[in-house]
Amino acid sequence: MGDWKTITVPVLSSDSKNIFQYTSDKKISSPSMNSQVLRLPLPSSKSMHSFFSAFCTEENIEQSISYLNRELTTLGFPSIYAESKGKELNLISIINCMNELLVLQHKNLRAQEEVEMQHLKLGSDMDHLQNCYAKLKEQLELSKREIVGLQERDRQLQSKNRNLHQLLKNEKDEVQKLQNIISSRATQYNHDMKRKEREYNKLKERLHQLVMNKKDRKIAMEVLNYVGRADGKRGAWRTDKTEARNEEEMYKVLLSDYEQRQKQLLVENAELKKVLQQMKKDIISLLPPQKQKPKERSEDGPVLSDLEEDIGELNKENMWELSCETVREQLTNSIRKQWRMLKNHVEKLDNQVSRVHSGALNDKDVISREDHEMETEKLELEIQQCKEMIKTQQQLLQQQLMSPCDDDTTLLLQDCYLLEERERLQEEWRLFQEQKKNFEKERRSFTEAAIRLGLERKAFEEDRGTWLKQQFLSMSTDYKHSENVTTPSAFLGSSEQDNRLVKSTSQQRKPHCVLSSSVSAEPCQTSHYTTRNSSSVASKKPAGDDSKPNRWVESDKEETE
């Protein structure tokens, strides 16, 4: 970058029209930059002065002013003269011009700054790009070299590979050669061996002859006495019969062995066939019913039907017990086919499962799954809630059960219970009292009714008595008109009293008694009758009327109480 230096030139004190001049100086560090930059020499202050004085001196003021005017007008500024002619200077215009010039200068300086800035930036960009370019060139060089190296290695490896192949081939050839050598040597050895053996046999024969010829007495067996045979039988001659017998026995032995083996194999076979049948059934049950989908591969259709026919046949006729070739083949073939179908089916299922997992298929499935999930969530929530409820209820129950342990509360509770009971009992008492009152009332009424009834009866009896008396009297008057019937006074008195009593009472009690007026007669005999009824009345010989009724009432009361 450059260093900026601003130098302010001191004001020229001589003139009122001072001109400030700014000079800028810029030093450029990188030599690669092209020197389009303004390079202004740095004038010293003295030279500045001289420079300033060089232009305008006291002699050429007019010329310099006119020069300046010309320059300014060419630049587009208004004239500094007051009028178009004359030497009068327009100070205002001069000042304006100066100001304009200054402004212009500022602008220019700024523009210059900007340009220089831009210039710097571009320069740095350029540097950067050149660096990148250099690096990339280097990288390119490197990779080219690498490629060359790798190619070289590849070539080497290929050549090595070829060598190894060649070696392998050589080795194989050698092995083959060696094997040939071995075989040829083996044949040679065999031949030699045979030759030697023949020689050896010849020697043996010779020796044998010699040995036999000698008739060596030594070759003998000395035995004290001959021992009996192990099985106690005697020795037998060798005849053809014995030979045949031997052969027979041998064949018997062989046959029995074969039979045994065959039995074992049959058993095994039967078991295996059973297992195969079972497997077949299982496979059929596992396979999906393919009859519903006729659009399936047509090969399977007829095959399946054939198989089913076979199955039917086999199951019906118990053909597994036969062991003929065709049945066996059928069984194995059918099992193979079914196994293949089952395999395909399983593969299909696997594909489906994988597709569902990847989620690339049917929205229906996906949604249903989502629904399912939501439902499960809901159910879970419900379960949660229920559990919480159960818990709270349990807690409460626990509290209920646990709380009686506290004494105060128990007392309180007991008090509560007692209050309750007491209230209940009070209620009942009230009810009871009411009922009692009612009963009393009823009893009173009943007693009154009873008294009334008694009184009425009494009155009736008295009336009857009087009527009878009257009758009797009437009858007696008929006989003895003059005779006075003297009845015991007591009775009379009493009767009268009684009558009076009865009257009074009847009057008191039953004013509507009709026979009361006729009672004043002497009903002696009837008083008997009446005394029976009114004996109760008469027995109570009261002092006054009131006492009798009082007593009566009292007795009523008593009765009622």
């Binding site: 083996a186 004290l224 021992v227 020795g235 030979e243 031997n246 041998m250 032995v253 062989l254």
Partner: protein, 451 residues
């Protein structure tokens, strides 16, 4: 488990009688017959020369003692100690001798395999079988003792003849040639109906013939490399196990005579389902304060004999693998020992490349079941004739037992070295005889299973 005291023995000749009552052993030229339970000497016989081979007759009444150098076979009777019988082959020489299944005939193989002479103890008759094959297993009897198969070689071709043991007659038409180059061995199946014939180790070929001489099947696993080393029939005749020099066992089934599986014997066992028992030594703790001089015998033996026990190793286990020298004949590689358990459930094999290990295969699952890794090379192993229990000896004074319940190592008590080289079970499975070069001892097992 009880051990008897060691008795003298020579030639690894200690045999239980087939009825299980007696035990015969030889010391140089003497034949000692003991009672099995008490080990008391019942009989003592003296032979004319050092005995090289003894064999009980099938009814346990007679013992034959073969002296190959002198060419003499002497037969002793247990019932009548005075009875004697001597068979002298004279200049014909004697290479092998064996009983016939009926216990009344002795088959002597003369030198150079000139002929096989059948001497009868009942009659004065003598039979000859010409041109017997000079191979390891040239004569094979069926299990029921009815038939005998003899391998012959005439005009550079191998033949097999089947004889009826009762009268030594050749079964009609049962003289057939085999397609082998050089027959190595023949063996009957336990059911007596199939005869396995296999070729020399230069050629992997096994042929199966029926009793009437028909060729049932041929099996060839590969060409050129060394072939069959050992074979074993399963007790039910269902399987035929073929061990070969390529360290594999191939199992053929009796229905199709095709291979049903291959058992490999690699040096590294990686299958996690295999149990590997490793024998480790545990040094006995000796209290130095209580040592006295001279140390008592029992203590001395226990000091010097290290105890050992089995540890279960974690798979993967790598076993000691030996690569034999390639330029020597009969290399120690391949499956050298094969044995089926009597219940047909297990097969025990030994890979000669890995001489310290016994491989036990589960036949029901056709998988490797157990590997026993011993400290020394396996000398021999034998299955208990009654139950799936395997006894192993490795040339030290311990005998190892394995059963599906586990395995145990038992130290034979006694002083000095008792290097067990061979062992043989009693027919009842209750006892066994342990043979070393100089001695033998009898081990009595309890009725319960060894843990």
């Amino acid at each position: 488990m009880n051990f008897s005291e060691p008795f003298k023995l020579s030639g690894l000749l200690g045999r239980f009688s087939p009825d299980g009552k007696c035990l015969a052993s030889c010391v140089q030229y003497r034949l000692v017959v003991r009672d099995v339970n008490t080990l008391q000497i019942l009989q003592l016989y003296t032979c004319l020369d050092q005995i090289q081979y003894i064999e009980w007759s099938s009814d346990s009444l007679f013992i034959l003692c073969a002296m190959y150098k002198r060419g003499i076979v002497q037969v002793w009777s247990l019932e009548q100690p005075d009875w004697h019988c001597k068979i002298d082959e004279g200049s014909a020489g004697l290479v092998a001798s064996c009983w016939s299944p009926d216990g009344r005939h002795i088959l002597n193989t003369t030198e150079f395999h000139l002929r096989i002479t059948v001497w009868s103890l009942c009659t004065k008759s003598v039979s000859y079988i010409k041109y017997p094959k000079a191979c390891q297993q040239g004569v094979a009897f069926t299990k029921d003792g009815r038939y005998m198969a003899v391998a012959e070689r005439r005009d550079c071709k191998d033949f097999v003849s089947i004889f009826v043991c009762s009268d030594w007659q050749l079964l009609r038409g049962q003289h057939f040639d085999t397609e082998t180059q050089d027959l190595f061995g023949i063996e009957w199946a336990p059911n007596g109906c199939v005869l396995a014939v296999w070729d020399t180790c230069l050629e992997y070929k096994i042929l199966l013939y029926s009793l009437d001489g028909r060729l049932l099947s041929t099996y060839r696993a590969y060409e050129w490399s060394l072939g069959i080393k050992s074979i074993a029939w399963s007790p039910s005749s269902q399987f035929l196990a073929i061990g070969s020099y390529d360290e594999k066992v191939r199992i053929l089934n009796h229905v199709t005579w095709k291979k049903i599986t291959e058992f490999e014997h690699p040096a590294t066992i990686a299958n996690t389902k295999t149990i590997v028992y490793k024998e480790v030594e545990k040094s006995p703790s000796v209290e130095t304060e209580r040592l006295s001089f001279p140390p008592p015998r029992a203590l001395a033996s226990s000091l010097f004999s290290t105890q050992s026990k089995y540890d279960v190793s974690q798979v993967p286990v790598s076993l000691q693998y030996i690569k034999p020298a390639a330029d020597r004949a009969n290399p120690k590689m391949g499956i050298g020992m094969l044995a089926f358990s009597p219940d047909n459930c297990f097969l025990a094999t030994k890979n000669d490349n890995i001489p310290n290990a016994v491989w036990i295969w589960d036949i029901q699952k056709l998988k490797l079941f157990v590997v026993l890794e011993q400290l020394c090379a396996i000398q021999s192993f034998q299955w208990d004739p009654r139950q799936p229990r395997l006894a192993v000896c490795t040339g030290n004074s311990k005998v190892y037992f394995w059963s599906p319940a586990g395995c145990v190592s038992v130290q034979v008590p006694g002083e000095g070295d008792f290097q067990i080289v061979s062992l043989s079970w009693h027919a009842s499975g209750d006892s066994m005889v342990l043979l070393s070069k100089e001695n033998f001892c009898v081990c009595y097992l309890e009725r319960e299973e060894v843990k």
